[in-house]
């Protein structure tokens, strides 16, 4: 191969720059209602979903771009694009990010675009988390009830049964640690959604919406309501007695302790089952899924951890077409098959009708052939409703994480939550929101 001359290189670079300019011009024509639907997502398997749609509906093409997840820059990217007037028509985000984008006017109010038949095909709990003050701002994709993924062999080695209540869970953790030195579970200082999931189970409300307040309603903040105090006290005890490992989620040390059999479980939303398969491949066949423990004396219920929605942006001139696409994404067997075919996701679809196709795609050998989707479907009956995320969850979550990181230095879970509430209030006040503390 001949080495290109400098002039050729320059010409090539120039052409590339021009091509870039041309595509960005194409994007900039966001005002054209006939143009293709633009779509951003950070979720695994979305490229296959877009390809499947384009194969069946060449008349309504979708242009897909993979973007970083919200916390890794995706949220900032979306905000900036919206500000600059070139946001995509459709974008995926986590439930926790939705209130912020709804508040900033990025997420369109789609209440009137959702047909009653479409509404009925998704779980009411899913719509509930995408709805604020009676208006829907997103189309739910999945809901993720928390489950207890665990290693029965490690429990059996210490003569411990799979706990069904939190009291049993603490006792099991004590026995397991005492007899074989294994931690029953981990507390993730970087994972506030996990802790929030435990609190949801008891119907906690860190943020609440008071519709009845004068002037169009009021946010009510209480990061230390009675259920949260109970959950915080419980986990504080486990942490203080070294009965759970304090390991950051996704950290090397945490993965190593799962792989090495030093931690016997992973409490996570339903999506975590596939995550475990990819991050601890050596555990194949050893893991099983069990229900999350319940609080004795309370109605059985479950919190969620994770889950995503699709938002139609407010400036999009193609909202009807976007909704048509999203209905297909959230409810059609082809879409879920395309998404899960790569084997990297075990998300629990918000449309109950998709359980069959989803289960067909999930390889259960890692879980010893257990009917995982059947199990999660049963669990999803217990989902708690009413939880509301705050308008700046990334910042609130960073505050909580900063407090949790100080657990080894004597900060308590309650102190971390109190500090996070203190740091969340000024921001909401400066936005002019009506907000009070409970």
């Amino acid at each position: 191969m001949r080495t290109p001359t400098r002039r050729q290189l320059l010409a090539g670079a120039g052409a590339a720059a021009l091509a870039g300019a041309a595509t960005s011009c194409g994007r900039a024509s966001a005002g054209d209602p006939e143009g293709p639907l633009t779509f951003w997502s950070s979720l695994r398997g979305t490229q296959s979903v877009a390809d499947a749609w384009n194969a069946t509906r060449p008349d309504a093409p979708v242009v897909f771009d993979a973007v970083p997840s919200g916390g890794s820059g995706g949220s900032a990217k979306l905000s900036n694009a919206f500000r600059a007037g070139n946001a995509p028509d459709v974008v995926s985000m986590e439930y926790a990010e939705l209130p912020g984008f709804a508040l900033d006017g990025v997420a369109a109010d789609i209440t009137d675009l959702v047909s009653p038949s479409f509404r009925e095909r998704l779980l009411p709990q899913a719509w509930d988390t995408a709805t604020f003050a009676g208006r829907a701002y997103a189309v739910p994709l999945d809901v993720e009830p928390m489950v207890l993924l665990h290693r029965p062999d490690l429990l059996a080695a210490a003569g411990v049964d799979v706990p069904t209540t939190w009291e049993e869970f603490a006792a099991a953790a004590r026995d397991l640690r005492g007899r074989t030195g294994v931690h029953l579970a981990s507390f993730h200082p970087n994972g506030y959604p996990y802790f929030a999931g435990y609190c949801q189970q008891l119907d906690a409300r860190w943020f609440d919406i008071d519709d009845t307040a004068p002037g169009g309603g009021e946010w009510v903040l209480d990061f230390l309501d009675e259920p949260t105090r109970r959950v915080a006290g419980y986990w504080q005890g486990l942490v203080d007695d070294d009965l759970v490992a304090v390991d950051p989620q996704s950290s090397q040390q945490w993965l190593a302790s799962l792989a090495g059999g030093r931690t016997a479980s992973f409490v996570v939303g339903a999506w975590g089952a596939a995550n475990l398969i990819t991050s601890v491949p050596g555990g194949a066949g050893q893991w099983r899924a069990a229900p999350l423990p319940q609080w004795s004396g309370e109605e059985p219920s479950l919190g969620v951890q994770g889950g995503s929605v699709h938002v139609v942006t407010a400036d999009s001139p193609r909202k009807e077409r976007a909704l048509e696409f999203l209905e297909w994404v959230s409810t059609s067997p082809e879409a879920i098959t395309a998404r899960l075919s790569s084997g990297t996701s075990s998300m629990f679809p918000a449309a109950p009708a998709l359980l069959g196709p989803a289960a067909d795609q999930f390889d259960t050998s890692y879980y010893g052939g257990q009917d995982y989707y059947g199990f999660v479907a049963e669990q999803s009956q217990l989902l708690q409703t009413g939880w509301v995320w705050g308008p700046r969850m990334q910042a609130t979550g960073a505050s909580i994480g900063n407090g949790f990181a100080r657990l080894p230095y004597g900060t308590t879970i309650e102190q971390a939550l109190a500090a996070a509430e203190e740091e969340t209030l000024p921001d909401m006040r400066s936005l002019g929101l009506a907000v009070r503390r409970a």
């Binding site: 709804a102 900033d104 009021e218 960073a398 000024p426």
Partner: protein, 321 residues
């Protein structure tokens, strides 16, 4: 410098100054040409952004009630300022920065002064070489310096920690107690040589007759350094303190990078990080502007105070001499 010197000498050497006054017009032209670029840049990259930030800080995307679907940008008065000052995250950031300044400024100033005095005293062998070696870290960009030190601080990666561990010494540079000292260490490493060079240049300008007189009067090297040289470079010291304090108030790169490896450094660790977080995570430009204006006011006040102190100190220094 030397070229300029000879020219000045050349002119005064002629005895009578030239009588031919340049016309007022060409004088104005010269002023325009010489000050123009400076003024242009000052306005474009300092005054306009500052005024725009001040303007932004009084406005906010205002919602009413719950805020869904009712956003509009309105005049918000001092609401953003009240929010910044009520945020414990910001107040803690200011506290951490003050602690950092309290540790870093004395260390770098005293350390650099001692090094400069040593260089100046002639006690140091291979002076040129030592000077260069001291100065080199300053040529390393701050972000690279932080990455190098992160490598040295991270357990499991760092050869230093490895050696210490073999000696049964457990040091956690990224632990809560050593966070600020670890940051100070990075800043010292990059700033010490630079400051030394400034002090050394000032010391070189001290008239040699004075030092001769001191030694004739029987002052030893230490006494000469402390009682003659240091008072004479006091103005330089004060200026350096001012620049160092202002630089320290803007602490950003090092903690931002260290935040990647330790969760103990939050997103609001220093005022500058607070501003960054408010603008780009919380999407609250009004709040970010208010915090920026507050930081600017603190910087301006400090520089004013220090420069006033400096001119007074210099005058006193001159009288003593």
């Amino acid at each position: 410098m030397s070229a300029l010197d000879t020219r000045v000498q050349g002119r005064t050497g002629r005895g009578t100054p030239e009588r031919v006054r340049p016309s007022r017009r060409s004088q104005r032209l010269a002023v325009g040409v010489l000050l123009g670029p400076f003024t242009l840049l000052l306005v474009a990259v300092f005054l306009v952004p500052v005024l725009y930030a001040a303007y932004l800080s009084f406005f906010s995307t205002t919602h009413s009630g719950l805020g869904f679907g009712t956003a509009e940008t309105t005049f918000a008065g001092v609401r953003n300022y009240a929010a910044v000052l009520a945020d414990p995250g910001f107040v803690r950031g200011v506290g951490i920065t003050l602690l950092y300044i309290a540790l870093f400024v004395p260390l770098v100033v005293v350390g650099a002064l001692v090094l400069a005095l040593l260089l100046d005293s002639g006690l140091v062998l291979a002076r040129q070489l030592s000077q260069t070696v001291l100065f080199v870290p300053h040529a390393v960009p701050g972000i690279i310096a932080a990455v190098i030190w992160l490598y040295l601080y991270t357990p499991g990666l760092s050869p230093v920690l490895g050696v210490l561990q073999r000696l049964d010494l457990q040091v956690d540079f990224l632990g809560l107690q050593l966070l600020v000292p670890s940051l100070v260490n990075i800043a010292l490493w990059s700033g010490l040589g630079y400051t030394t060079v400034i002090f050394f240049a000032a010391l070189r300008a001290v008239p040699r007759e004075l030092l001769e007189a001191a030694s004739i009067d029987g002052a030893g090297a230490v006494r000469t350094a402390l009682r003659v040289k240091v008072p004479l470079v006091r103005a330089t010291v004060v200026t350096v303190v001012m620049f160092t304090v202002i630089g320290a108030l803007q602490l950003f790169t090092e903690p931002m990078l260290m935040g990647q490896v330790t969760p103990l450094i939050g997103t609001r660790f220093t005022p500058n990080m607070y501003i960054f977080d408010a603008a780009f995570t919380r999407n609250n430009y009004g709040l970010a502007s208010a915090a920026s204006v507050l930081l600017l006011l603190v910087c301006c006040t400090l520089s004013y105070l220090v420069s006033r102190g400096a001119s007074r100190g210099a005058r006193r220094g001159g009288e003593e001499a």
